[in-house]
C-alpha cells in the first residue's frame, strides 16, 4: 500500500480572485524572510511573507486587469509584472517602497507569459509577446532596447506564442528561446540570428506551458489536451519527442521543473497537481486540494533543499503550499547544494 498523498503544508487565502501566477523569492539571507509573489485576476500582486504566512504588501498597478506573470529581478527589491492591460511594470520594492518605476507597453492582447534571463550582472534579456500576433520580442533590460524580433516565416503559421522560455547553455554564451505556439508546436529560436533552429509539433492543441532543463537539454510541455510531452534537444539543435505521458484528465495550465531537476510539477485543469520524476517521467503523486482549475505551479528557490516548497495557485482563489520530495540525506544534501544552478 502506497502512502496516501500528503496534504498541503499550508494554504494562503485572501487574494479574493483567481491566482494566475506565482513566484518565490527565498534566496535572501537572514533577517530577510522568504517571499512569495502572487498575481491574481483582479490586477493585484500580493507579496506573501512565508514566515508569518500573511500578506506583506499588496501592489496594484495593472488597473484591475489580470496579472499573469511576476518575476523578481535583482534580488527582492525589483519586481517585473505583466498584466493584461498590456503593461509590463517594473516595481521598486526596496525599503518599503512600492512604486512602478518603469513600464513597457507590450501591444499584445494575448496572455503569453514573458520570460526573463540574466545574461550579465545588471543585464537581463526579456522575451515577451510582440505587436503582431505571432511575434516574439526580446528586450534588453534595464535599457529596454529591442534585441530582436522573432517572427516565423509567413507560411509557418504557428499561431500566437503561448509560452516562452529563454535559456542559455552556459553563462555568457548565446541565449536561445523556446516558444510554444497556438498550433501545438514548440519552436527553438536562435536569438543571435533570429532564426528558427528547430520546430517540433508535439501537441494537437495550443501549448499552454513549457519548461526546459538546460543541463540535460530536455524540456517538457503541456497543452489543453491530456498529454504531457517530454522532448529533448540533440547536438544538431533538433528537437525530438522523447516521451509522452497520457493523463487522466485533459488540460495542463502550467509545468515546472524543480531546480534540482529531480521532479516536475504540473498544474491541471482537473484541479489536481501532479508530481512526476523528471528523469523518467514516472508519476509520483497526485495532490488533490483545489476545487477549481489550478493555474500555476512554482517551486521555491530555498537554498536548503529540505526547505524547498511547491506552490500552486488556483481559480478557487487559494494558494496551496506543499512540501514534497525534499527530504534528502546528508551527503546528497551537500552535493546538491554545490550543484545548484545559478
Amino acid at each position: 500500500m502506497a502512502l496516501p498523498p500528503p496534504d498541503p503544508q499550508f494554504v494562503l487565502r485572501g487574494t479574493s480572485a483567481e491566482v494566475h501566477t506565482l513566484h518565490f523569492y527565498c534566496g535572501g539571507q537572514e533577517p530577510d524572510y522568504p517571499i512569495l509573489f502572487s498575481g491574481s485576476s483582479n490586477g493585484l500582486i500580493h507579496v506573501w511573507n512565508l514566515k508569518t504566512r500573511r500578506v506583506d504588501t499588496i501592489l496594484d498597478g495593472h488597473g484591475g486587469k489580470s496579472v499573469y506573470w511576476v518575476e523578481a529581478i535583482n534580488g527582492r527589491d525589483r519586481l517585473l509584472s505583466q498584466g493584461s492591460n498590456q503593461q509590463i511594470c517594473l516595481w521598486d520594492l526596496a525599503e518599503g517602497r512600492n512604486t512602478v518605476t518603469d513600464s513597457v507597453f507590450t501591444e499584445n492582447v494575448g496572455f503569453c507569459k514573458s520570460s526573463l534571463l540574466k545574461v550579465a550582472q545588471g543585464h537581463w534579456l526579456m522575451a515577451m509577446p510582440g505587436k503582431d500576433l505571432d511575434e516574439v520580442q526580446v528586450l534588453e533590460l534595464p535599457s529596454k532596447t529591442s534585441v530582436c524580433t522573432l517572427k516565423p516565416e509567413a507560411d509557418a503559421k504557428p499561431g500566437m506564442p503561448m509560452c516562452l522560455k529563454l535559456w542559455q547553455p552556459d553563462f555568457g554564451s548565446c541565449p536561445f528561446l523556446l516558444a510554444g505556439y497556438e498550433d501545438g508546436s514548440v519552436i527553438l529560436w536562435n536569438l543571435s540570428g533570429g532564426k528558427i533552429l528547430s520546430r517540433l509539433g508535439c501537441h494537437q492543441e495550443p501549448v499552454m506551458s513549457l519548461d526546459f532543463d538546460s543541463e540535460k537539454k530536455k524540456g517538457v510541455s503541456g497543452s489543453s489536451e491530456e498529454v504531457l510531452t517530454v522532448w529533448s534537444l540533440d547536438e544538431q539543435q533538433n528537437l525530438k519527442v522523447q516521451k509522452t505521458h497520457k493523463l487522466v484528465n485533459a488540460g495542463i495550465a502550467d509545468v515546472a521543473i524543480r531546480q534540482d531537476k529531480k521532479i516536475l510539477a504540473t498544474a491541471g485543469w482537473d484541479h489536481r497537481i501532479r508530481i512526476f520524476g523528471w528523469k523518467k517521467l514516472k508519476p509520483l503523486a497526485i495532490l488533490n486540494y483545489h476545487t477549481a482549475t489550478v493555474h500555476c505551479v512554482s517551486f521555491s528557490d530555498h537554498s536548503r533543499p529540505s526547505e524547498r516548497l511547491l506552490a500552486a495557485g488556483s481559480k478557487d482563489h487559494r494558494i496551496s503550499i506543499w512540501s514534497i520530495y525534499n527530504q534528502t540525506s546528508g551527503a546528497l544534501h551537500c552535493s546538491l547544494e554545490t550543484r545548484k544552478p545559478d
Binding site: 502506497a2 484528465n249 509520483l284 488533490n288 514534497i324 527530504q327 540525506s329 552535493s335
Partner: protein, 803 residues
C-alpha cells in the same frame, strides 16, 4: 488336615497376641522377626510352602493386627531402625494388593490420630516406592490364573478413588502426592512400568493378562481424570510403540480390554491427546472395527453429536480412519452421514451454528482424505447431497450459515469435478468462520510500508546514477476522471433527472447531492415529498455508483424526516408489487428516520447518520451480524444510560422529541398486517427474512419510542406480536423478537408494564426462561438471558420503591 497350615496360623496368631499384649520391645521385635521370615527376602526364610500359605491366608489379618496395635507409646518400644526394618517393611515388601487394601481400609475407618498419620506416611512411601505397579502386576499375574472378581473390583475402586478417599479424610492437611493432579500422572508411570513387565514376560513366553490395567485406565478416564493420566501415558506409549511391534500389540490390547462402559472415555481421551493421526492409528490399531461401541463413539458421537473439539482432534480422528484400508469404508460412511446432517434442512435450522461449523470442518477434512477412485464411485451421491445441502444453507437468514454452505459446497464441487467448471461463489472469507481444516495462509498485506516515504534515499556521491526510481510514489488511486457535470441545485430538477434522464453522469451527480439538497430546503421538500419518496423507493441502480444503496436510503430518510411520508411508506410495505429488497429498504428507512427524529435536535447538523453506524439495516447479502452487534451495542448503551442517569441529565442537547407525535404512525401500520399473506408476499411463509427484519425494525421503533405517549400501547401490541411468533423456526426471527422484548422492557414505563400487561409479562417471562435454556441458537439464549435480567431489575426496582 494338613498340620502345616495350622502351624503357620498358630505362629501368626501368637505373634498378633504378643503384639497386642506385650509391652516389651525385645519380645515384640522377636515376634515381628519371626513373621518376617514368612515374607522371604531374608537369610533365614521359611520354606516356600509356608510362605505362600502365609501370604495367601494370613497376611492381611496380620497387617490389620499391626495397624490396630499402633499407638505412640507402642511404637516407641521399637527403635527407629527396628521400626523401619520390622514394621514398615511388612507394608513395603509384602504383597502389594493386600497391603494397599489394608492401608486404605484403615485410613477410611480411622479417625484423625497418630495412627492415621503413621498409616498415611506408610501409604505415601508405598506409592513412592512403586507400590502401585507392584500391585497391578500382582493382579495381572493372578488374573492369568483366574483371580477373584470381587477382590479385583474392590481393589480397582480403591486404586481409582484413592485421591477422593484421602481428600475426604485429610481435608486441608492432604499431602501433595495424593492430589489428583499428582496421583494420576504417577499412576500413569506405574502403568507404563507394569506394561513394561508384561512385555518382558511376554517376550519370555509367559502369559499375562492386561485387563486389570485396562480397567484402571478405563475407570480413571470415566472418573474424569483422563487429562491427567493420558498426559503422561500417551507420549510414553507413543515413544514405545514407535519401533516395537510387541509394544504396539500391548497398547492395542490395553485399549481393547477396557470394558465397554468405559471405552468412550478412553477413546475420546486418546483422540484428543494423540498428536497426529498416525500416532493415533498406532495406539488404537483397528479398535473401531473390532469394537462396536468404539465404532459408535468414533463415527457418531464425536462427529455428529458433540461439537466442542478442536480442529486438530477432527483431523486426528478422520486421519485415523483414513490411514488403514480396513477402516476406510468407515471414512466414506462417515462422510455420507456428515453430508446428510449438513444437508438436512432441519439440522440447518435447529442446530447451533458452532455445530454446523464443526460438521463442515469434518466434511472438508474427509474430502481431503478421499482418493480419486473413491470420489468417482461416490461422485453422484456427493453431488446430490451437495445440491440439497447448499439449497438449505442458502435459504438461511444467518449470513454465517450461508457462507459456511457456500464454502463447503465449493470444496465439494471442486473435489468431484475433475474437469469442467466447478462451483464458485464470491464469498469473502472471514477468518474465524472458515471451516477449512488446514487454514490457508492468511493473505499478508501486500507491499511494504515505506520506511521514510517521501524521502530521496541516499545514493552515495554518484549523482549520475540518480533516477526517478528512488522517489517513492504516493498512492495515486484517487486519480479518477473528473466529472464536469453540472450538479442540480433544485429538488424538482433532481426528480426530473431521476425519473427521466438518460444521462448517467448527471444521474449520478444528482444521487450524490440529493440528500443535502433535501435537508437544506425543507420547504420545497414538503411540497414534493410524496412524489420524491415514490421516486426514490422505486429507484433502480441504472449504472454502478459507489454506495448507491446508501445514498438512496439517506435521501429517503431525509425526506421522511422533513415531511411525514411515513404513512405512505408503511402502507407500501404491505402492498403488492414490491420486491423483498424494497420492503426491507422501507423498514430500514423507517428505523433510521425514527432514530434521527428521536435524537435531540439541538445537537446540530452533522448528526446521527454519521455517528450511529449507517447499517441499522442490511441489504440482502450484506452482513446481518453487523445488525446484531448494533442491537446488542444499543442495548448496552441504553443500559448504561439507565444506570448513569446523572450524566444524561447533564447532556446539553435537548429539545422536543419529534418522534413522540409520530411514533404511532411508524409503528402500528407495520404491525397490523403481518399475518395477512399477499400473493407476492407472505411474511409467515417463505419470506421469513423480511419477517425477521420486521421484528428487528419494530424493536428499534419501540426502543426510540421511549418517553412517548404511545409507548405503552405500542408495547402491548408488540408483546402480542412476539407472543404470536414466539415459536418461529427461524433463529433470525426469534432474535428479532427477543430484541423487541428488550425494547419493550426499556421503553415502556415499568408501572404500565406490570399493571396493565401483567399476564403478558409473566407469560413472556416463562417463555424467555425456556428460550434461555433450550434454544439451539447461542445468540437467542444470550438475548433471553439479558431480557430475564432486565425483567429482574425492573421487578427489583419496583419492590424497592413501594407505592
Amino acid at each position: 488336615m494338613d498340620p502345616e497350615p495350622f502351624e503357620v496360623g498358630h505362629v501368626v496368631r501368637e505373634a498378633i497376641n504378643i503384639l497386642s499384649s506385650s509391652r516389651n520391645g525385645v519380645q515384640i521385635s522377636e515376634a515381628l522377626g519371626t513373621i518376617k521370615c514368612y515374607l522371604g527376602g531374608t537369610e533365614n526364610q521359611a520354606p516356600l510352602k509356608e510362605r505362600e500359605e502365609f501370604t495367601r491366608v494370613h497376611f492381611s489379618a496380620f497387617l490389620r493386627g499391626l495397624v490396630s496395635n499402633l499407638s505412640p507409646d507402642w511404637i516407641e518400644l521399637l527403635t527407629s531402625d527396628q521400626q523401619k526394618e520390622l514394621w514398615d517393611s511388612f507394608f513395603l515388601e509384602g504383597p502389594a494388593d493386600q497391603v494397599f487394601l489394608v492401608l486404605l481400609d484403615s485410613i477410611i475407618s480411622m479417625g484423625p490420630s497418630f495412627c492415621l498419620m503413621k498409616v498415611i506416611s506408610i501409604l505415601e512411601q508405598f506409592l513412592q516406592t512403586g507400590g502401585m505397579s507392584a500391585l497391578m502386576w500382582e493382579v495381572c499375574h493372578q488374573q492369568a490364573q483366574a483371580g477373584l472378581p470381587t477382590f479385583q473390583e474392590t481393589l480397582l475402586n480403591k486404586v481409582v478413588c484413592l485421591p477422593d478417599h484421602l481428600c475426604n479424610k485429610l481435608q486441608g492437611n492432604n499431602l501433595p502426592i495424593f492430589f489428583p493432579q499428582n496421583y494420576f500422572p504417577l499412576l500413569a508411570t506405574e502403568i507404563i512400568q507394569v506394561l513394561q513387565r508384561i512385555s518382558d514376560s511376554l517376550r519370555d513366553g509367559l502369559d499375562c493378562s492386561i485387563s486389570f490395567v485396562s480397567q484402571v485406565l478405563g475407570k480413571v478416564c470415566m472418573h474424569g481424570r483422563r487429562e491427567e493420566i493420558l498426559k503422561v501415558l500417551v507420549p510414553r506409549l507413543m515413544d514405545l510403540t514407535k519401533v516395537d511391534c510387541i509394544w504396539q500389540r500391548i497398547c492395542w490390547r490395553l485399549v481393547e480390554c477396557v470394558p465397554d462402559r468405559w471405552i468412550e472415555a478412553v477413546v475420546c481421551g486418546f483422540v484428543q491427546k494423540a498428536p497426529g493421526a498416525d500416532v493415533l492409528s498406532r495406539l488404537l490399531g483397528n479398535l473401531v472395527v473390532k469394537n462396536k461401541k468404539a465404532q459408535f463413539v468414533v463415527t457418531q458421537k464425536l462427529l455428529l453429536q458433540q461439537y466442542s473439539y478442536a480442529t486438530a482432534v477432527l483431523q486426528n480422528l478422520l486421519g485415523y480412519l483414513a490411514l488403514d484400508s480396513l477402516r476406510r469404508y468407515l471414512l466414506i460412511k462417515v462422510l455420507k452421514e456428515l453430508l446428510e446432517t449438513w444437508g438436512s434442512s432441519s439440522a440447518v435450522k435447529h442446530s447451533p451454528v458452532e455445530q454446523q461449523l464443526y460438521v463442515s470442518k469434518a466434511i472438508l477434512i474427509c474430502l481431503s482424505h478421499l482418493k480419486e477412485p473413491e470420489i468417482e464411485s461416490n461422485g453422484q451421491e456427493l453431488l446430490t447431497s451437495m445440491m440439497g445441502g447448499m439449497k438449505c444453507h442458502l435459504d438461511s437468514n444467518l449470513p454465517r450459515v450461508r457462507r459456511l454452505g457456500m464454502i463447503v459446497a465449493e470444496s465439494i464441487s471442486s473435489r468431484i469435478t475433475t474437469d469442467g467448471p466447478c462451483l464458485k461463489f464470491q464469498v469473502r472469507l472471514h477468518r474465524n468462520d472458515s471451516p477449512s481444516a488446514t487454514p490457508t495462509a492468511v493473505s499478508k498485506p501486500s507491499g511494504n510500508p515505506h520506511p521514510a516515504a517521501p524521502a530521496v534515499p541516499e545514493e552515495g556521491s554518484d549523482l549520475e546514477l540518480d533516477s526517478d526510481d528512488d522517489l517513492i510514489p504516493y498512492d495515486m488511486s484517487e486519480d479518477k476522471e473528473l466529472k464536469k457535470m453540472k450538479v442540480p441545485v433544485y429538488i424538482r430538477d433532481c426528480i426530473e433527472v431521476l425519473t427521466g434522464s438518460e444521462d448517467m453522469d448527471k444521474w449520478e451527480a444528482t444521487m450524490k447531492v440529493l440528500e443535502s439538497l433535501i435537508r437544506r430546503n425543507s420547504a420545497t421538500t414538503r411540497e414534493v415529498s410524496m412524489e420524491l419518496a415514490k421516486v426514490l423507493l422505486h429507484l433502480e441502480e441504472k449504472t454502478y455508483i459507489e454506495g448507491f444503496v446508501e445514498l438512496r436510503k439517506r435521501a429517503l430518510v431525509a425526506v421522511t424526516i422533513t415531511d411525514a411520508v411515513v404513512q405512505y411508506l408503511t402502507s407500501q410495505f404491505y402492498s403488492l408489487n414490491y420486491s423483498l429488497c424494497q420492503r426491507m429498504d422501507i423498514l430500514d428507512v423507517l428505523a433510521l428516520a425514527a432514530q434521527e427524529l428521536s435524537q435531540p435536535q439541538a445537537s446540530g447538523k452533522n448528526k446521527p447518520r454519521s455517528t450511529q453506524s449507517p447499517c441499522i439495516q442490511t441489504v440482502p447479502g450484506s452482513d446481518s451480524s453487523q445488525n446484531w452487534r448494533r442491537i446488542v451495542d444499543e442495548r448496552i448503551k441504553s443500559k448504561t444510560r439507565r444506570l448513569a442517569k446523572g450524566q444524561s441529565l447533564v447532556e446539553p442537547a435537548c429539545g422536543p422529541n419529534k418522534f413522540s407525535s409520530l411514533a404511532g404512525h411508524f409503528f402500528f401500520p407495520l404491525i397490523q398486517n403481518f399475518d395477512r399473506p399477499l400473493v407476492t408476499f407472505d411474511l409467515l411463509g417463505d419470506d421469513h427474512l423480511v419477517l425477521g427484519r420486521l421484528a428487528h425494525t419494530l424493536a428499534i421503533l419501540m426502543y426510540f419510542a421511549i418517553h412517548t405517549v404511545a409507548a405503552a400501547a405500542m408495547g402491548k401490541s408488540l408483546l402480542e406480536f412476539v407472543w404470536a411468533l414466539r415459536f418461529h423456526t427461524d433463529s433470525y426471527v426469534r432474535q428479532g423478537l427477543l430484541s423487541a422484548v428488550s425494547s419493550i422492557l426499556l421503553s415502556v414505563p415499568s408501572e404500565r408494564l406490570l399493571e396493565d400487561m401483567t399476564d403478558e409479562f409473566l407469560e413472556t417471562q416463562s417463555w424467555l426462561a425456556d428460550v434461555a435454556e433450550k434454544d439451539p441458537d447461542g445468540d437467542c439464549r444470550r438475548l433471553a438471558w439479558q431480557n430475564l435480567l432486565l425483567m429482574e431489575n425492573l421487578l427489583k426496582k419496583l419492590r424497592s420503591v413501594p407505592s
